[in-house]
Symmetry: C2
Subunit: 107 residues, 2 copies
DNA sequence: CCTTACCTTCGACGACCATCGAAAGAGCCG
DNA sequence: CGGCTCTTTCGATGGTCGTCGAAGGTAAGG
């Protein structure tokens, strides 16, 4: 039995993003840390984020962000690379992600 | 026993608003309708919002918005008037509330 | 004083959420 | 093949959320 390849990641279209879903995805401290980290470093592997939660919990947060359209992920070998969908977000909700990212942490 | 007057409403300072709390307050369809209605009409009584939930549920949503610093409420006679804290929000999170309000409903 | 209007609080209920550990899949390398 | 790394899925758990109805309290007016 041949090994099945990784199932392709699903990402919502840029034009179909839901405001409530995006706001909900951003309304969590851990996910906000992920988004802020991604702004500084455009592409990171999953295991390299400065968050203190279990790997399975981190995977859950990536799924929430991905299904809301906040991040895009692609597989390369053993790693899953993550990027911010900055242009898509700004086209759909102009100024929103900039306003969120302009606020420093711990405030 | 004399009747006790209405307890004063508590509102967080403009400088102490939490980004996560504001995003969470906005990440709900009913509360988003309240905020959008308030943009068109600067001051409304609680019972005059075009939402289809029970009065007790509406009261709950007002509390979430008020404690996050999104709205301000004042009592006058029997009615409770609600306003958007637009200036406070824009001073604390520049562009955020504008970006949210720029997105039309049902999108 | 009694009634009506307005809004809130309380208690309850079902749904969802953030979190974890255990297990497993896919890829890479010796 | 065998082991190691990276990441996900599954099941469970404790907590929070949105919702409602019932009850209550304040205000205004007959």
């Amino acid at each position: 039995m041949p090994a099945t390849p990784r199932p392709p990641l699903v990402h919502p279209d840029a034009s179909s993003l839901s405001l409530v879903a995006v706001l909900h995805a951003l309304a969590d401290p851990t996910r906000l840390t992920i988004v802020r980290t991604l702004r500084a470093d455009p592409e990171r592997a999953c295991g390299t984020f400065p968050v203190s939660v279990a790997p399975s919990t981190l995977s859950h947060h990536f799924r929430v962000l991905r299904e809301a359209g906040v991040i895009r992920q692609r597989d390369e070998g053993n790693r899953r690379w993550t990027t911010l969908r900055l242009a898509d977000l700004d086209a759909r909700f102009p100024g929103l992600i900039d306003a969120v990212l302009a606020t420093p942490p711990d405030e």
